[in-house]
């Protein structure tokens, strides 16, 4: 949670500061409240991660509520919200078809929740002393969303097609002799889906934040080491950081999009088989 920027204040105490120059420190979970809250023996302490989940939820509610004026001629805010719902609606229509309409609430929630989480984690709030926590950089969080999506696919698939859903693992035109092997291969690729879904988002977000942290530590270490090193290492790192920041904003959007898009594709399998 304590990012590189807080390091500036600790310049005098170099030894103590260097211990904080850990790019992984930003992913540290901390109990903020309820360290002893337990449900059926499982600890459910309110952590910094939970705090930012709540903030993402709150921001999303505020954002969508701002677009609820229901004006015939929409204002800017309403237009923005309608663009997002239209985007999700279009994505489902393109990937699942008419039957995809009923998944708009889920896919919209999924996409916007991940998008807001990713963006909030990138906000330069460290300048104000508040260090954002990106809970999408934890596979314990992304995994829940992935399992949720995968469960919906399984439930819809078996509810709609029954055991015929297994024909998903035997593509059309497979030679009879190949069916056992293809079935196993397809089954494995199907079962890998929740892992790839959750890991992709977690890895992308973690990698980006580690990269930003490492580059910012170059800037600060270079600055501390003297003017020459600052010019050689610090400044170029800073310039690179600005570019990487822009890239990370792009990645934040793309990863949310990929998560939602792949869920749509999997839902299409469940709705329409092949």
């Amino acid at each position: 949670m304590v990012g590189a920027l807080s390091f500036i204040g600790d310049r005098d105490n170099r030894v103590a500061a260097e211990a904080k120059l850990d790019p992984m420190h930003q992913f540290q979970l901390e109990k903020l409240a309820g360290a002893d809250w337990n449900i059926a023996g499982y600890n459910v302490a309110f952590t910094n991660s939970a705090l930012w989940m709540g903030l993402a939820t709150l921001a999303l509610i505020v954002f969508v509520a701002g677009g609820m004026k229901r004006a015939v001629v929409p204002g800017r805010w309403q237009m923005a919200v309608e663009t997002f719902t239209g985007f999700i609606d279009g994505m489902l229509a393109a990937n699942v078809g008419k039957a995809g309409k009923k998944y708009v609430p889920y896919i919209f929630s999924l996409f916007m929740f991940i998008l807001f989480a990713n963006f909030l984690g990138l906000m330069p709030l460290g300048v104000l002393g508040v260090h954002p926590f990106t809970f999408t950089s934890h596979f314990s969080a992304t995994g829940v969303l992935a399992v949720l999506s995968f469960s919906i696919v399984l439930i819809v698939g078996f509810a709609k097609h029954g055991l015929h859903f297994f024909s998903l693992f035997v593509p059309h035109g497979t030679p009879v002799a190949m069916i056992p092997i293809i079935f196993v291969v397809e089954l494995i690729s199907f079962l890998v889906r929740p892992f790839s879904l959750g890991l992709r988002l977690f890895v992308a977000m973690m990698a980006g934040h580690v990269l930003l942290e490492v580059l910012s530590s170059f800037v600060i270490s270079g600055g501390n080491a003297g003017p020459a090193l600052f010019v050689i290492a610090g400044l170029p790192s800073f310039v690179l950081m600005v570019g990487i920041c822009a890239l990370e904003l792009l990645v934040a959007g793309i990863q949310a999009y990929v998560f939602a898009l792949l869920t749509c594709v999997y839902l299409n399998d469940a709705e329409n088989l092949h």
Binding site: L29, N43, S109, M112, S137
Partner: protein, 164 residues
């Protein structure tokens, strides 16, 4: 890597709070707000489509009305042309008639004038004959001392006048 190092301690908390907050997101935003936003979009699209349809209908009606007006206008024009042609024919006929009447009157006047001229000429010629015959008889009686028959003198004078 805290994600793995702290997994044992925090996994239940992560799962619990994510389900809580994603649940809130899903039920409040996804189920509560998104359908209303999409309803707004759908009703707007419907209104636009209806307006377009109404405009299309209005244009079709205007087109048909224009066509009707055109046929009516064409009929009116044809009728007007007929009236003009009739009037023209009537006028021409009247002119011809009046011209003919005038011609007839002029002809009659000319004939009467000619008859009067002929009469005048005849009476003038007869007077000249009488005068000439009287003069001849007088001359003959003075020069030759002959008393001529009036009829003979007149015949000779007439012959001379004709052949003279």
């Amino acid at each position: 890597m805290p994600q793995i190092a702290q997994l044992g301690e925090f996994y239940s908390s992560q799962i619990f709070w994510l389900l809580i907050f994603f649940g809130i997101t899903f039920f409040v935003v996804g189920r509560g707000m998104v359908p209303k936003v999409m309803d707004t979009v759908a009703s707007r699209d419907k209104q636009i489509a209806d307006d377009l349809k109404a405009a299309e209908a209005a244009r079709a009606q205007a087109d048909s009305e224009e066509a009707a007006w055109r046929t009516r206008e064409n009929a009116n024009r044809a009728q007007a042309q007929g009236l003009i042609a009739d009037a023209r024919a009537q006028g021409a006929a009247a002119t011809t008639e009046r011209l003919a009447a005038a011609q007839a009157r002029i002809d009659a006047e000319i004939a009467a004038a000619e008859a009067r001229i002929a009469d005048a000429r005849r009476s003038a010629a007869a007077e000249i004959e009488t005068v000439a015959a009287d003069a001849t008889r007088e001359i003959v009686s003075r020069i030759a001392g002959l008393s001529l028959d009036d009829t003979a003198v007149r015949g000779a004078v007439k012959e001379n006048l004709v052949h003279g």
